[in-house]
Amino acid sequence: MRLDGVSYRYGRRGAWVLRDVSVDLPPGGTGVVLGRNGVGKSTLLQLVAGVLRPSAGEIRERPGPVGWVPERFPADQPFTVHGYLTAMARLHPMTDPVDTWIDRLGLTAYRRTRLGDLSKGTAQKVGLAQALIPRPKLLVLDEPWEGLDAAARELVPEIVEEVTAAGGIVLVSDHRGETGRLPGAITWTVADGTVTQGDVAQAHAVIEIAVPAAEAEATAADLRAAGHDVIAVRTKAVV
């Protein structure tokens, strides 16, 4: 799959979000989209998934079917988990049995639960399930670890490996540093409307450190200067 001179802006007079982006991913490849909040990572993912059309340029050799996991699953719909996934499965010619992914993602207890009654993490699992049911050849994951429990977070790299092993392409964005669990992934760094394709990423570990609040900015600057990737600076402890 190749993005050839792709540019995008929202509306005819909107500011350009992405300009002249040319990157590619081979079959069986995994791409990790990196960048600060608001630089256009989600826009890039939606262009790749075919949700948005490029304002200029084109995307060639996009494999199908496409599975897209949005950053926030739209839970405000009058369906149960099973009813929704069954309805989504019917949109595709070839799918895995719905119950396969309900069981695998730990949704069995929520089969008859209405989408609106789900917690954010469980709704995110439904979003993951609907993308995986059609056996995607292109899987686009927008912050897939957000809100997931520990067991489901472990499952994401496993699923990515299964899709790529079958010759599919996976593109993931993440600001939690979880993509360090995807060794062999190619990085696409989004900044100032451009995308820079990096080398194959090495496996990374995430170290959480606590410093006095007054020293947070200085410590983050020191770490960046030392070549580390500072994922987040929080002023409140998260238990």
């Binding site: 405000d76 719909q77 369906f79 019917r90």
Partner: protein, 220 residues
């Protein structure tokens, strides 16, 4: 595509969004037929005009039922063209149900006479239905992006459809031929005028749907 039409109709009914249109239809039918028995052709001509804003509103309600992100998920599943067509077909299906309800109900209460008026009445409602689905689509959130603009498009379109269709209008072709159809039905139309008005309705709807499709290309 039929699976997506079914999914959208299910969400529309289960979400309770079918009720406002049903109540609106009941009110319209009550106003039109409340005064006593009428000739079917004449009454159906005015019914088709009165139902135009109701069916357009229903089409907007149906197309707005789905959250924006779910509509995008549907695009990844079936592609942008079939996603768009499925929305219009679902809106047309709901409109057809409303038309059937509004045409059958007066018969049940004996408010209509003259079975010969059923066929031209059906034609007038069909012309109103396709045009109303077009207007509802133009007013949907996927195009207007806000409730306020959506309502403005819906109300302005409905008012213009009547005002521009009045007898003596200098630009009757800018509006769907609802008023012209109502006038013809009252005068027992010939087949030539029915063909002309049908062509007008289809052309108007085709232009509106083309505008809708074009705007959807850039407003996902």
């Amino acid at each position: 595509m039929s699976a997506l039409v079914r999914m959208r109709l299910t969400a529309f009914v289960r979400g309770g969004r079918a009720l406002p249109g049903l109540l609106g239809t009941l009110v319209m039918v009550g106003i039109i037929y409340g005064g006593g028995r009428s000739d079917a052709a004449e009454a159906y001509g005015f019914s088709a005009v009165a139902l135009f804003p109701v069916v357009a509103w229903q089409a907007k309600l149906l197309l707005d039922t789905e959250p924006d992100v779910q509509r995008r998920l549907a695009v990844t599943a079936v592609g942008p063209h079939r996603e768009l067509a499925a929305g219009l077909l679902a809106a047309a299906a709901v409109g057809a149900g409303t038309v059937a309800f509004a045409m059958i109900l007066p018969w049940l209460f004996g408010a209509i006479t003259g079975p010969a008026g059923i066929a031209p009445g059906l034609w007038a409602h069909a012309a109103s239905l396709v045009a109303a689905v077009g207007l509802g689509a133009l007013a949907s959130r996927a195009v207007t992006r806000s409730t306020l603009y959506g309502i403005a498009v819906l109300v302005t379109g409905s008012v213009l459809a009547i005002v521009l269709g009045l007898d003596g209008s200098v630009v009757p072709w800018l509006a769907p031929p609802l008023m012209a159809a109502a006038r013809r039905l009252a005068d027992h139309p010939d087949s030539a005028s029915l063909v002309t008005l049908s062509a007008h309705a289809l052309l108007w709807t085709a232009v509106v749907i083309a505008g809708y499709a074009r705007m959807r290309r850039t407003r996902s």
